[in-house]
């Protein structure tokens, strides 16, 4: 009854100087199935895929496609043999059109020289129609939201008529509606007999879409099981190698009096319109909503990183302006941005520089010279308090894992002794174990009496950590729910209110 595998990777090993990245890992994908590949960050999923696509040369092991042994030397060669990948990080020519991006590297030609715009447009339309993708093929890539760019990338992979398609975290920037759409596309591919490798951290998705699940840990193969026999707890246990009884730490914070009142907050250049809400001392206030619903805009407008067109902000009953980030920091606000790499870390600088940057004024001696000793002590504190795993303070931050980078940035903000913490997707791209630590930190902060506003696209996270949840829709506040007495369905209904 077992069909022969379409793609089989057997006993793959890969060693980098000092690290065994892959140790005898095997993966077999049967045609017409979705095979999920799971593991914490650093478990070796990406390395395995890079070995498949010839980006890394494997040290040992064999890869067979349709029974034939293959050695791809580049992604291009893999593509030509029907193995495609949708990358997590989009590598697109942003200043070019959708069509140009779709056919990049294989433009249809007229007379061997000239690119045939007509053929390109027509074939783009065919593929988009087939996949029900509603994106203007003539639109310039940079004008599209990330989710639509992701759909273009998915369409591109499909357009190669690939036998095997790898999806690497395809839903990290998609809205719930688009995730449904993606799943329809995947189902279509599955019926066509394609083999799908699906890499994701989102358990709910994995259990829904996949047929089989292979789990990796620390570069080693752990198990392959049928998805229907697995539970979320079981997957986590296999991934982490220990019982994680709870995905969320116990909530021990007790909301107190109102500290922050926001009325009619509107953005000048964004769609944020007329948002009013309150934040209590020691409270964790969640903000839910679809991508582009104005969640991030609430935080950044409040922080003065986006321009405000109207509305009042009162802290302890006193009106404040928060005209720019500098002023907001003085008023006791802190913002953890959504895109850690683009707007959070100074990748090339070390941990210490990254930690002290928002708090430099407090290290001044005589108004001029910075106190090196005090900066070192504060960084030590941050490393201890946030449990940051780093060889030293002088390590470049970009060499740390996502979770540790995030802890450094949280440490940076805690040094400014904020009263109101604005956290935008605090656990994005962080593995399960580290997520728990971040939740723990957030709840601890609330326990100490800080007000926390937290944006997240992962609903279980909002339900597990927050006290109240605001739901944004189409730039407006669609409603407010009590985290204890609500459901994902209620939040989703509110999120679709003004779409």
């Amino acid at each position: 009854m077992e069909q022969p595998a379409l793609l089989e990777m057997r006993n793959i090993s890969k060693e980098f100087p000092g690290v065994k990245a892959l140790d005898n890992v095997s993966l077999a994908v049967r045609p017409g199935t979705v095979h999920a590949l799971m593991g914490e960050n650093g478990a070796g999923k990406s390395t395995l895929m890079k070995c498949l696509f010839g980006i890394y040369a494997k040290d040992s092991g064999t890869i067979t496609l349709d029974g034939q042994e293959v050695h791809f030397k580049s992604s291009k060669e893999a593509l030509e043999n029907g193995v495609a990948m949708v990358h997590q990080e989009l590598n697109q020519a942003l200043t070019r059109t959708v069509t140009d991006n779709l056919w990049l590297g294989r433009y249809p030609k007229v007379g061997g020289v000239m690119v045939s715009e007509r053929a390109m447009r027509q074939r783009t339309k065919e593929i988009f129609d087939q996949l029900e993708v509603h994106v203007d093929p003539r639109a310039v890539m940079s004008t599209l939201p990330v989710s639509q760019r992701q759909m273009v990338e998915i369409a591109k992979a499909v357009s190669y008529d690939a036998k095997v398609i790898v999806f690497d975290e395809p839903t990290s920037s998609l809205t719930e509606v688009e995730v449904e759409h993606l799943f329809r596309i995947i189902n279509m591919l599955r019926q066509k007999g394609c083999g799908i490798i699906y890499i994701s951290h989102k358990m709910e998705e994995i259990l829904r879409i996949s047929d089989e699940v292979t789990i990796m840990r620390d570069g080693q193969y752990v198990a392959t099981k049928a998805a229907k026999d697995l539970t979320m707890e079981e997957i986590i246990r296999l991934m982490v190698g220990r019982e994680l009884t709870n995905r969320f730490p116990p909530k021990e914070n007790v909301p107190g009096e109102v500290i922050l009142e926001v009325e009619h907050l509107s953005g000048k250049y964004t769609r944020l319109e007329d948002a009013s809400f309150q934040l209590h001392k020691g409270e964790i206030l969640g903000i839910a909503g679809l991508d582009g619903s104005g969640r991030t805009e609430v935080l950044e407008t409040l922080f003065g990183a986006m321009t405000r067109s109207g509305g009042t902000i009162r802290l302890h009953g006193k009106e404040i302006r928060n005209k720019n980030p500098g002023e907001s920091i003085k008023n006791g606000f802190a913002l953890l941005t959504e895109e850690r790499r683009a707007t959070g870390i100074f990748g090339i600088r070390d941990i210490r520089d990254n930690t002290v940057i928002s708090n430099l004024k407090s290290y001044l001696i005589g108004g001029i010279c910075l106190n090196e000793k005090k900066m070192k002590a504060d960084t030590d504190w941050a490393i201890q308090a946030m449990h940051i795993k780093t060889p030293s303070q002088k390590t470049q931050i970009r060499s740390l894992s996502g979770g540790n980078q995030q802890k450094v940035i949280i440490g940076r903000w805690l040094l400014t002794k904020p009263e109101v913490l604005l956290l935008d997707e605090p656990t994005r791209g962080i593995d399960v174990g580290a997520k728990y630590e971040i939740y723990d930190l957030i709840i601890d902060l609330a326990k100490e009496g800080k007000g926390v506003i937290m944006v997240s696209s992962e609903m279980p996270e909002l339900l597990g950590v927050c006290d109240r949840i605001l739901v944004m829709s189409g730039g407006k506040l669609a409603g407010e729910v009590d985290a204890k007495n609500t459901s994902q369905e209620e939040i989703l209904t509110l999120a679709a209110k003004y779409v």
Partner: protein
């Protein structure tokens, strides 16, 4: 553990070690090559390592150093500054014209008694800083690339310089006949230092330049402004949301750079002693080359004062040395160009993420 796998591990470690040594050699290749070149030159011409020659190299280095220290900050911000040379020229001519001796022939400002030397230095630095702030304003306010802004401003400055040369009584002539107070302040050497060095002159501007280096080191490493500058170069958006005043920091980096160019201008005014509108021409290219050689990266957010100093020194060593072994002057430019290309390629190699 089996013996075999142990052997394997050791081989891997040795291999890793060899690779690390290779990396170290490659990352410092430029300095290694220059050291070899210096040793070679010293063998070919013994005079190269005599005190007089060393002092000469040191003095030349110190004359060019302030420009490189200024441009370094602009490069840390992932920018550049093409107007450096013209600012040197303008401030050199202004300094010299204000400090012409009363007895000088065709004196630009006939009725001017030379003001105090330090006052003129301050005037030059204010002019330099103002032009720098102008550059910084356009970079920060309109988000123009510094290459474009300074490409434009160096042209604008050149017109000012040409007009200034025709001002007063000068009529476009070279500005010479400097007041003794000025020449002494820059190129003089107190007797007690001569006594110490056994009669060899170390011009005063060397000390000015070294003092500036210390000040710049302090600014880069020990002040809020310095930390902000590096953060801004490493990630502008992150700096903005971290509360760094991006506008003010950018303007200040360029203004500081302008003031530094003015110091070189002030030194050149007396060192060259006969200044035309061509004074300072192309100084920026040497300065940028020196910064890159010294590891101030165009990637942004990376650089050390130590590196800038080494970069300027290395370039001077090579040029003085090439002269001494009698290399054809025409070949200098190909050597300079080669060094810049090689240095940039090596530098990028360090920051590229390997795929």
């Amino acid at each position: 553990m089996s013996k075999e796998s142990k052997n394997l591990q050791e081989t891997a470690r040795a291999f890793g070690g060899a690779k690390r040594v290779g990396d170290i050699l490659l990352n410092n290749a430029l300095i290694i090559i220059m050291v070899i070149a210096v040793i070679y030159i010293a063998f070919r011409n013994q005079n190269f390592i005599k005190a007089a020659s060393i002092i000469n190299i040191l003095a030349q280095t110190c004359a060019y150093l302030p420009v490189a220290l200024g441009v370094g900050g602009c490069i840390v911000l992932t920018g550049t500054d093409l107007s450096a040379g013209r600012i040197v020229g303008l401030t050199a001519c202004i300094s010299a014209s204000l400090l012409q001796a009363v007895t000088a022939s065709s004196k630009m400002w006939v009725n001017l008694t030379p003001p105090p030397v330090l006052l003129v230095l301050v005037i030059a630095m204010v002019i330099g800083a103002a032009i720098g702030a102008f550059n910084g304003f356009f970079v920060a306010k309109f988000k123009l690339h510094p290459f474009i802004v300074t490409l434009a401003s160096q042209l604008i400055i050149y017109t000012f310089l040409l007009l200034y040369m025709k001002a007063g009584n000068n009529g476009g002539m070279a500005i010479s006949g400097l007041d003794k107070s000025y020449s002494d302040f820059i190129t003089g050497c107190p007797q007690f230092i001569k006594n110490l060095t056994g009669g060899i002159t170390i011009p005063n501007y060397v000390w000015i330049s070294l003092l500036l280096t210390v000040v710049m080191w302090f600014i880069w490493n020990k002040t809020t402004f310095g930390k902000n500058m590096f953060a801004l170069g490493a990630n502008e958006e992150a700096a903005r949301v971290s509360g760094v005043n991006v506008f003010a920091t950018t303007v200040l980096v360029f203004a500081l750079a302008g003031a530094m160019y003015a110091v070189t201008g002030f030194i050149e005014g007396a060192r060259v002693a006969s200044n035309t509108a061509n004074t300072g021409l192309n100084y920026e290219s040497d300065a940028i080359a020196a910064c890159v050689i010294g590891g101030v990266s165009f990637v942004g957010g990376i650089g050390k004062i130590r590196g800038v100093v080494i970069g300027v020194l290395m370039l001077r060593l090579i040029f003085v040395g090439l002269n001494m072994v009698g290399v054809n002057q025409d070949l200098f430019y190909v050597i300079k160009g080669g060094i810049i290309l090689f240095a940039c390629a090596l530098d990028m190699r360090k920051y590229l993420v390997k795929k």
